[in-house]
């Protein structure tokens, strides 16, 4: 079997199997396999086949429209885009430090987003695979069957998500695509009635989140070999951490670790992301391939998201989630877990952290405050970074003297994970499909690996315009005749 399954030689002679579309993920993607007559795997690719174009059509629009427009990238985590854009535009309007009310309301909105998205992903999208088995009957692998077979689990999953959506509604004005965050702050605070309505359920959400962590731990305990090795590939990690090294999903500095957990960089101002990260374009996917510049495109790829964040931080600043983090770290034996299925464990730890944080913020009277916005000396350029449910989300804008956006660059969470997802899918193909008759349950194994990353393929294909491009002319034997490069 070829070591690198990205590109096969003699592809025209191979049989193509496609999973199109990948189900139970956000957006539209497909996986293609090239197999020979003995079902040996020669090529595996995760393609992202949709095309959006937000970076282009935000150009020429007034800057204050940006947080509301760009969140339309996604219906699952619009709050993340809403807030990342707002953070970038805080810099533009000179709001170097928000009022306590604005900062805490944005955090409340963001942790509501984390809670609802993580609940959606685990209970609605992935629990059918985990509770029924990867090779269970396809017709059973859905939330409806979960509701039938595990009604309490399904009910709690639905209500956890609902609570997160309610937090968003009270802070942003709507459950999906609200307008609460504006450049320099927020446009509303909570009323006492809104705060009390959320507090009435907050403790229950903490408890149910603890139970969700326990459920994932139980799954790991039942099949440790599977959960620790399925689709595992060694990867570097990147995430924001707070200024004290703690988990902070709203704000912080960039930290990266190598495959063994050693710090590669730390305390990096996210406005300097361009010095760290570069993006590569491959002709078979609309999603770019980011990598750490210092390592180059071949080995510089990395993972983001819950698995990275839980292992990248030094602690989680809420007590119950911190206990769970320590247990997870102990379970991994002091080395970073490289297993995609461990994403679920890490994700539920984060959901618990989000529930605890929401509860704490609701007890802070600043969320009832009236000082909503600040401004200061104008700037022409701003970068905003946030840890979205799926990972590090970068928004970068330039605004001209007339207040119109002249440049927009977005590097979204799923894009960071592009190579890691491809590598995990290849690893699963090597182990489970190579040389075997292809069946639907086996193909679902590939989807399980993709789903673990919680990809949002809608967000990931936002670019339009002059992307870096390499055009290669190959002869019939696959040798390069000439090539053209545009950076």
């Amino acid at each position: 079997m070829p070591a690198n399954l990205e590109t096969a030689t003699g592809a025209e002679k191979l049989r193509r199997v496609a999973i199109d579309p990948i189900s139970r993920v956000e957006g539209h993607g497909k996986i293609t396999l090239l197999l020979d007559e003995h079902n040996r795997v020669h090529q595996v690719r995760l393609h992202i086949v949709e095309f959006r174009g937000f970076e282009k059509f935000i150009q020429g629009r007034p800057y204050w429209e940006v947080p509301v427009m760009v969140q339309r990238l996604c219906g699952i985590c619009p709050v993340s885009h809403h807030l990342a854009a707002s953070k970038a535009l805080d810099v533009i309007v000179g709001a170097r430090r928000l009022t306590p009310t604005a900062e805490k309301l944005r955090r409340l909105m963001h942790y509501g987003q984390i809670l609802q998205s993580h609940a959606l992903h685990f209970f609605h999208l992935c629990s059918p695979d985990l509770l029924f088995g990867f090779d269970s009957e396809a017709a059973r692998r859905n939330i409806v069957e979960i509701a039938a077979q595990h009604p309490e689990t399904a009910r709690k999953g639905v209500l956890l998500r609902k609570f997160g959506q309610e937090v968003i509604r009270h802070t942003a004005g709507k459950r999906i695509h609200g307008t609460g965050s504006v450049p320099g702050g927020v446009n509303k605070s909570l009323t006492v009635a809104e705060r009390d309505a959320l507090l009435a359920d907050a403790y229950q959400m903490v408890q149910w989140s603890r139970e969700a962590v326990a459920l994932v731990k139980q799954l790991h305990a039942q099949q440790p070999a599977l959960y620790n090795s399925f689709g595992a590939v060694r990867a570097k990690t990147v995430s924001l951490v707070g200024h004290g090294g703690e988990m902070d999903l709203y704000h912080g500095r960039l930290r990266g670790r190598d495959e063994n957990g050693a710090i590669l960089f730390d305390g990096v101002d996210y406005a300097d992301y361009g010095k760290l990260i570069e993006e590569q374009v491959k002709p078979w996917s609309y999603m770019k391939f980011p990598y750490l510049k210092s390592f180059g495109a071949e080995t510089g790829w990395y993972r983001v998201g819950p698995l990275s964040r839980v292992q990248n931080c030094d602690l989680i600043p809420t007590p119950l989630a911190e206990i769970e983090r320590r247990e997870f770290v102990d379970y991994c034996g002091g080395m970073p877990s490289q297993a995609p299925l461990a994403y679920h464990w890490a994700r539920m730890i984060e959901m618990l952290h989000a529930a605890e944080t929401i509860k704490d913020l609701l007890h802070d009277d600043d969320v009832l405050g009236s000082e909503l916005t600040v401004c200061g000396p104008r700037a022409s350029e701003g970068v905003g970074v946030i840890e979205a449910p799926r990972g590090t989300l970068i928004h970068h804008y330039r605004v001209d003297d007339d207040d119109l956006v002249s440049t927009c660059n977005l590097i979204v969470s799923t894009t960071h994970n592009n190579q890691a997802m491809n590598e995990s899918v290849r690893e699963v193909a090597r182990r489970y499909l190579h040389g075997r008759e292809v069946t639907e349950p086996l193909l679902n194994h590939l989807e399980v690996a993709v789903r673990a990353f919680d990809p949002c393929l809608s967000c990931a294909t936002h670019a339009l315009g002059k992307m870096p491009l390499i055009v290669e002319l190959l002869d019939v034997d696959g040798n390069t005749v000439s090539s053209l490069r545009r950076d």
Partner: protein, 226 residues
């Protein structure tokens, strides 16, 4: 006091009132876009059209008369109003989801009121760059519905003639009184009446978009349960 029938109800009026003015004075309304109580009626959007006998007439320009029987809220008239709205939506670029006027836009509110569920027609997708040259105001003609309120306000109240229409028929478009064609090169000012009358998101004060939260905007529905 004289009166006329409006959808079966008696509406009193005084001499000089139009049908729309009398209906509004009686606490009711007729869908409208280009009408503004402070300006002479223009009768251009036709959304306020009502039926008297066999005739369709603009209620904003037609004087009320004793004994007339006016029909307004009927399925066929509302069908015609929806069609007018659908044509307005596809002629411009009305992207309500990211428009700061959302919730305060009379075009959007009318579409909700008349239950316009889709644009129905193919979008024109005209290419209209935003004019952000003015220090305090933005001119986004993607959303202009040619109601002429800014033209009338600038001419009749401000005495400036900053705005005018150019072109004919489907090519009619809003222009500003500057050789460069840019709002920033006119004498338009924030205190002008013309800065306050746009019923849609065409003439906008800069840097305050989305300051009013959802639920507190003029056309937001009341909170659930109230």
């Amino acid at each position: 006091m004289s009166s006329f029938k409006f959808d079966g109800r008696e509406i009193p009026f005084v001499d000089g009132q139009t049908i729309l003015q009398a209906v509004q004075a009686a606490g009711q309304d007729i869908p409208h876009l280009c009408y503004h109580p402070e300006f002479k009626p223009h009768g251009s959007c036709k959304l306020c059209s009502v039926r008297i006998g066999e005739r369709m007439i603009a209620s904003c320009t037609t004087p009320a008369a004793a004994g007339m029987n006016v029909e307004s809220d009927t399925p066929d008239i509302n069908d015609q109003r929806r069609t007018l709205l659908q044509m307005l939506f596809v002629e411009g670029n009305h992207f309500c989801p990211s428009c700061e006027k959302s919730g305060a836009c009379r075009l959007q509110a009318s579409a909700y009121e008349l239950q316009m569920m889709s644009p129905h027609y193919d979008h024109f997708f005209p290419d209209r760059p935003v004019d952000a040259s003015h220090e305090d105001f933005l001119l986004d003609t993607n959303r202009c519905i040619l109601c002429s309120l800014c033209v009338r306000a600038s001419r009749d109240v401000d005495g400036k003639n900053v705005f005018a229409f150019s072109g004919r028929g489907i090519h009619t478009h809003l222009i500003v009184n500057a050789r460069s064609g840019r709002l920033g090169d006119t004498d338009f000012a924030a205190a002008d009446k013309a800065a306050q009358v746009c019923p849609v998101g065409c003439i906008l004060r800069k840097r305050v978009g989305f300051a009013v939260p959802i639920g507190q905007r003029p056309f937001d529905p009341p909170p659930q349960g109230e």
